[in-house]
Symmetry: C2
Subunit: 365 residues, 2 copies
C-alpha cells in the first residue's frame, strides 16, 4: 500500500507537470495542484482528476498509442465523463449515448467515455467484458463450421449462457456484457436502430448483393484501460475505420469471416492457381468496395494510403514540438500494399509512454 | 591478438561441434578435428576449413538468414571454393563462372562462391565493392532527374571515375568493382551475353512494350561476409527472385525506378484520386506481369504467396529437428498483401545465429 501510493504519487506528479506545461499553466499553478493531489493521495489513497485533466489525459493516451495510424486527430477527441455512475442502468445509459454521439448519422466523432477508476481495496465498479460495443455473434455448428464472426465465439457463448438468443445469422448484434461491482454480469442489448451498418457493394463491378457482406460503421474498443497519472479507467473509445481493418482483416483473415475466395469467384477471377494473383486482386477490389460503400452510405472511413499520409503529417507536427513519435511498425504498416506508404521505409521507436491504453484482464464467468 | 585468438578458438570449436553433430560424426572424430584446429590457430593465428566444412557452413549461414523467406531450400546450395585465388584475373574468372553456373539458362541454381578469408595483420585479398554482381547504372541529370537505378548512383560514379562509360540508358550493366589487396580497385565488365534479362509484359493486359520494363534474372548479393566458425569470407551468393523484389520494390519505390504511376496510366486506371485504389491495383498487375514474364522466359521466380507457404514448410521441418527458426518479421512479410500469408499472423524470434551473412564496410575511393 505504501509502495503503491509512492508510485501513484510519482505518476500523478509526472502527469500534472505534462498537463500543466502543455497547457501553458504557470509553475506555481502546477505545484499548487501537485501539493493538493499529494495531500489527497496521502489521506485517501487515490485522487480525482479535474474534467480538464481527464479530457487532456485521454487525448494524450491517443497521441501515445503506438499502434494507431490515426493519431493526427488526437486533439479532436470528445470526452464523456461517466465517473459518477451509481448503477448498472446509468452505465447502460452512457453506453447507448456513446454509440449515438460517435455514430452521428455517419459523420463519426472520435469519442471516449470514462468510467470510474479502479481503486485499491474496492471492487471495480464497471468492468466491460465486450471487446467492442458493437460486435457480431459467432456460432459454431456441429460440423465445426462457423456462422458469423469467429472472433466472437466465446462472447457469444457467454451471452447464450446468460439467456441471450441470437438468430443464428452472420451479422447478429451481440449485447454488450459488463459487470457491475462483484455482481453477476449484465447484458445491454444493442439494437439495429441505434447503430449504422453498411452493405458492401462495388462501385464498378456491381451486384455484390449475393455476397452479403456488411459491417458496422463504428469500431468502439471497450476492453482497454485508459491510464492517466497512475489511475486506470475503463473507457470505451472510437475513431472511424480505415478500410483495411474491415476489408483486409475482418472479412479476409482465415480465422475471421474468411471470404476472400468467395469475393474472387464473384469477380470471376481465375482461382485455379496462386499465380494468377487472384488473392491480391480480390483483396484490392474488396478494399475499393468497402471504402466506396461507406462513402456512398455517408459513413466516414479513411483509405490506408491517405491514413499513412496523415500519419506522416502527425509525425512532422510532433517533431516540430520536439516530441518524438513512438510507434509499433508491425501495426502501423497497413496490411495492403504497405511498401507504398512512407511508414514502411522508416524506422520508429517502439516505446509506451503514459497516458496510454492498456489491455485489461477480464474476470471469467 | 591473444584475445582475438581466444574468441576464434571458441567460435571454431562451436562450429566444429555443430558441423560434426549435424553430420553424424563421432565424438572422437569431432574432438580430433578440434584439437587439430586449436593447434593451427595457436601456431598461425588462423585455421583452414575443409571443403566439407565450408560447404556445410555456407548452407547453415543461409539457414540462419533471418531476413530470408527462401530458406526451405538451404540444403541445395552449390558452393564454389575460390579460397585459393592468387590474382585479380582469377577473381574475375570466378565471378563470371558464378554468373554462368547460377544463371543456367533460367533454371537458376542457388550458388555461393567463397573467396579467401580475412586474416589479422594481412591486407584483405578480395574486397567486392559492388552490392550485386549484376546491377544497372544510375545517372543523375542536370535537372536532378535520374536515368536508371537510383540505388546505383554512387557505384556508377565510382565506375565513371575509373574510366567506365555507360550509354546513359535505364538498364546499362555496370561492371563489377572489386579491390585486390591494397591495390587500386578493378573493374570486371559484365556483358549482356553472359546474363539473362527478362522484358516485362502482362499476360492479359498486353502490350507493355512502351513501358520498357525489364530486369535481370539473378540477384547475386556480393557485399556480405560469410562468417563460419569465426572466419569471415567475402562470398557472393544468389537464389532466385521473389516477384515482389522486382515488382513491388525495384520498379516501385520512390527512391528506385518509381514507375507505379506509369504502369497505372498504361493500364488505363483512374489516377485522379487515391480512393480509386489505382496504386494497389497497378501494384498487383505489376506482380502478375513480372511473374508471368519470368515464367514465359523460362526464368525461375517465385510468387510471394508460394514463398510464404514454403517458409511455413521450412519452419515445420526445422521444428521437427528441435530447431527454432529465427526471423526478422519486418523483412519476412512480403510487401504485397502481407496479411494473406501466415508469417504476418505469427510471432518469430529475431536473433542472429552463426554461421551467417554480415554486411561489410567498404573502403572508399
Ligand atoms: C480517428 C480515426 C482513427 C483511425 C483511422 C484509427 C486507425 C487505427 C488502426 C488502423 C489501428 C490498427 C487496428 C488493428 O489493426 O486492429 C488502430 C489501433 C489503435 N488505435 Fe486508432 N484510429 C483512430 C482513432 C483512434 C482513437 C480515437 C483512439 C483512442 C482515443 C485510438 C487508439 C488506438 C489504439 C489504442 C489502438 C491499438 C488497438 C489494439 O491494441 O488492438 N485510435 N487505430
Ligand atoms: C532460393 C531462392 C531464394 C529466395 C526466393 C529468397 C528470397 C529472399 C527475399 C525475398 C529476401 C528479402 C530481400 C529484400 O527485401 O531485399 C531475402 C533476403 C535474404 N536472403 Fe534469400 N532467397 C533465396 C535464396 C537465398 C540464398 C541462396 C541465400 C544465401 C546463401 C539467401 C540469403 C539471404 C540473405 C542474407 C538475405 C538478407 C539480405 C539483406 O540483408 O539485404 N537467400 N531472400
Amino acid at each position: 500500500m505504501k509502495y503503491m501510493n509512492l508510485s501513484l504519487l510519482n505518476e500523478a506528479a509526472k502527469f500534472l507537470v505534462q498537463y500543466g506545461e502543455e497547457n501553458g499553466l504557470s509553475k506555481d499553478t502546477i505545484s499548487d495542484r501537485q501539493r493538493c493531489v499529494s495531500k489527497e493521495i496521502k489521506s485517501t489513497g487515490t485522487y480525482t482528476h479535474t474534467l480538464e485533466e481527464i479530457t487532456f489525459g485521454a487525448k494524450l493516451a491517443w497521441r501515445n498509442s503506438t499502434k494507431c495510424i490515426g493519431r493526427l486527430f488526437w486533439e479532436t477527441l470528445d470526452v464523456f465523463d461517466a465517473r459518477h455512475v451509481e448503477s448498472p442502468d446509468e452505465v447502460a445509459h452512457y453506453l447507448h449515448q456513446h454509440i449515438k454521439h460517435a455514430t452521428n448519422a455517419g459523420k463519426i466523432r472520435s469519442t471516449i467515455t470514462v468510467f470510474p477508476p479502479l481503486k485499491q481495496n474496492e471492487p471495480q465498479k464497471v468492468q466491460l467484458w465486450s471487446p467492442q460495443l458493437i460486435r457480431y455473434a459467432g456460432y459454431t455448428l456441429d460440423n465445426h463450421k462457423v456462422i458469423g464472426d469467429p472472433a466472437c465465439i466465446e462472447l457469444t457463448k457467454i451471452a447464450q449462457k446468460m439467456g441471450w438468443k441470437g438468430e443464428g445469422g452472420p451479422y447478429d448484434l451481440l449485447p454488450v456484457i459488463f459487470q457491475w461491482k462483484d455482481e453477476v454480469p449484465i447484458m445491454v442489448p444493442i439494437t439495429k436502430e441505434e447503430i449504422l451498418e453498411v452493405q458492401i457493394d462495388h462501385p464498378v463491378h456491381q451486384n455484390w448483393g449475393p455476397l452479403n457482406l456488411k459491417w458496422y460503421a463504428v469500431p468502439i474498443i471497450s476492453d482497454r484501460y485508459l491510464e492517466i497519472g497512475g489511475l486506470r479507467y475503463p473507457a470505451p473509445f472510437n475513431g472511424w475505420y480505415m478500410e483495411t481493418e474491415i476489408a483486409a482483416r475482418n472479412f479476409v483473415d482465415s480465422y475471421r469471416y474468411n471470404r476472400l475466395r468467395d469475393v474472387a469467384e464473384h469477380l470471376g477471377l481465375d482461382t485455379s492457381s496462386t499465380t494468377t494473383f487472384w488473392r491480391d486482386k480480390a483483396l484490392v477490389e474488396l478494399q475499393h468496395a468497402v471504402y466506396a460503400s461507406f462513402k456512398q452510405a455517408g459513413v466516414q472511413i479513411v483509405d490506408h494510403y491517405t491514413a499513412a499520409q496523415q500519419f506522416q503529417t502527425f509525425r512532422d507536427k510532433e517533431e516540430k514540438q520536439q516530441r518524438e513519435v513512438k510507434g509499433d511498425w508491425t501495426w502501423l504498416i497497413p496490411p495492403v500494399s504497405p511498401a507504398l506508404t512512407p511508414i514502411f521505409h522508416q524506422g520508429i521507436v517502439n516505446e509506451e509512454l503514459t497516458p496510454n491504453f492498456f489491455k485489461q484482464k477480464r474476470s471469467s464467468l
